[in-house]
């Protein structure tokens, strides 16, 4: 390992909030990987001919374990309680996978488009730059949540539609960042040398410019991931994303809205319906924000 990387890593793991962020993230990764072991995707309500519980076709559709839809307080069998006849722990565990899926797919795809548009604009400059940046301005002029909300309904609701909408309206920040970085790097000696050697444009961008500008983009992508998961959950919360019964924190919270008034005489009787999906979401977003912060401190010590 080279010393530079070693020093960076040592710096990273001296910072308590970075350690907390990485530990939380590791915890969620473990939960996501071992979801089938923590909450097996079976429905004990419907045994097959051998008496074994039925396997679920789609583990993301939470099995209905009881016909009463009212919340059931935490017990030994259901440590997080039940709502709508479904186990909250099951939803929280498999919801971790949903959250990773949404976050990673949207961030990867939108960063990819951002890099393409930003590099073209920055490298070629002139009217190409002008046109692409004005298109970026137009996309930035529609508030993100609103744009995602509108496009999702037009595409017809559902988690996949939410992701498409967020990708279409999520590339602009990356495009601007990479363009600004390329404008800086473009005049460096090694790029001019590559140009003088007659190397093709796309090779110059891919081999010489992008590797020198990619770190800030990665930091930005990490920092965006948390807020993207929040937006996706907000859309589910508004009833546009995952349907009721899908293992998704946002749609679970949407369902709990019917119960926030509590039972008669006990206002906070159903606290667990909000608490568990809510805390999962907060910790997940917190993890990414802390990691993003730590990475930024390492790569850009100026912004402390």
């Amino acid at each position: 390992m080279n010393t530079e990387l070693k020093r960076t890593l040592r710096k990273l793991f001296k910072n308590p909030s970075a350690i907390l962020g990485f530990s939380l993230l590791t915890f969620f990764i473990i939960v996501a990987i071992f979801a089938p072991l923590i909450s097996p995707p079976i429905n004990p309500m419907f045994p097959d001919e051998n008496g074994n519980p039925m396997k679920l076709d789609n583990p993301y559709i939470m099995p209905i374990l009881s016909w009463s839809s009212d919340p059931v307080p935490p017990s030994k069998d259901h440590p997080f309680g039940m709502i709508a006849g479904r186990d909250i722990l099951y939803g929280v565990v498999w919801g971790t996978r949903t959250a990773f899926k949404i976050g990673l797919i949207v961030v990867t795809a939108s960063t990819f488009f951002g890099i393409i548009i930003g590099s073209i604009a920055g490298y070629f400059g002139g009217w190409v730059d002008e046109v692409l940046m004005r298109i970026t301005d137009v996309f930035l002029s529609i508030p993100f949540l609103l744009a995602a909300m509108v496009l999702t309904t037009i595409l017809g609701s559902g988690l996949d539609k939410v992701m498409i909408a967020m990708i279409i309206f999520g590339w602009m920040a990356t495009a601007r960042l990479i363009r600004a970085n390329i404008l800086q790097v473009k005049e460096e000696q090694f790029v001019l040398a590559a140009k003088a050697l007659g190397i093709k444009n796309y090779i110059i961008i891919l081999r010489h410019i992008l590797p020198n500008t990619i770190f800030p983009v990665l930091v930005q992508a990490t920092m965006r991931l948390g807020s993207l998961v929040i937006t996706a959950a907000a859309l589910s919360f508004l009833g546009l994303g995952a349907p009721i019964g899908y293992a998704d924190w946002g749609s679970m919270l949407n369902y709990t809205r019917n119960y926030i008034l509590g039972a008669s005489g006990q206002a906070l009787a159903y606290w667990y319906t909000v608490f568990y999906p809510g805390i999962a979401m907060v910790l997940f977003v917190l993890a990414w924000n802390l990691v993003g912060d730590a990475l930024r401190d390492v790569f850009d010590p100026k912004l402390k």
Binding site: S17, R134, I135, D137, V138, F139, S141, I142, P143, L145, L146, A147, M149, V150, L151, T152, T153, I154, L155, G226, I230, A233, A234, F237, L238, G239, L240, G250, L253, T256, R257, I260, L261, G262, A267, L268, W271, V274, G278, M281, V282, L283, V285, L286, N289, L290, D293, L303, K304
Partner: protein, 345 residues
Amino acid sequence: MTAYIIRRLLLLPLILFGVTLIIFSFTQILGPEKLLSAYVNPNVFDKLSNEELDKLIEKYGLNEPMWTRYFKWLGGVLRGDLGWSVTAKQPVAQAIKERIPYTIELALYAIIPVIGVGIWLGVAAAVNRDKFLDHFIRIFAIIGWSLPDFVFGLIVLMIFYSALGWFPPGTMSAWAEEIVKSPEFKRFTHILSIDALLNGRLDIFWDALRHLIGPILTISWLWWAYLLRITRSSMLEVLGKEYVRTARAKGVPEKDVIHKHARKNAMIPVVTVAGAMVIGLLAGTVIVEVIFNRIGMGRFTAQAATQLDYAAVLGSVLFYSTVLIIGNLIIDILYAALDPRIRLG
């Protein structure tokens, strides 16, 4: 500077034109039958024969090419006619006009604690760098930053409404609504709490405030987090500058160093963020308005979107984008005016 402002002003209609083009072309994914629901109750569709449906589609010009319809719609917009909203059962322009004051009221009241307390916390954290107070404020900030507004909103409702009964959801109580709708109650500004004061009705004023506190609390934590981070880092940067050291070396009391020398300069980046926040608050009330069941632009847009009321959706997006574009222009100009080192180009 003047050239820059002129260039931005010239670009403004162009960008708005782009926004309308994007949103309009997205609605075209819907196909003529869905678009027809803006004119005819969709429940009737099943009873109609295909020929009758085609006739209706023809009647409203829904099978004309996109460009024809786009310019028809744009012509309407320029005349101030945004179409008919199915959700509000009134013209879109009228629906927006009636709801804006409620959103402005919420944003106005939220800005005061958000900016005041946010900046104060940020300065306090920077001054006490790496001490207990700093750590405490930073933890407070990072939790707020990771806390989705709909989660916190539900918690606020559970505690302050269900358990304590202090701050109910909604816009005003039923008894207050009766009075507000009666002819004796004059609407001067259409901002409820201010009108209540002007009418000399303190009870309605308190009622309006009681309904505002829950949403404000929900919004505040999130925005505090954001603002105090910026303030803290800007303040730290300034506190490390030579002129601050000089001031300290001269024997200027620490209180004056912080409040007179450092804070003023640290505020420059904060102004942009605070400005962006005002715009963000106007556009960021969708979730709280839905959770707290308040009248306003945000809830209207959310309802319109979920019910595919596309005339209302187009109108609202156009409204929000206009606010965003003009707001950003004002902030950029303000920023350059405050800091002569900034060159706009």
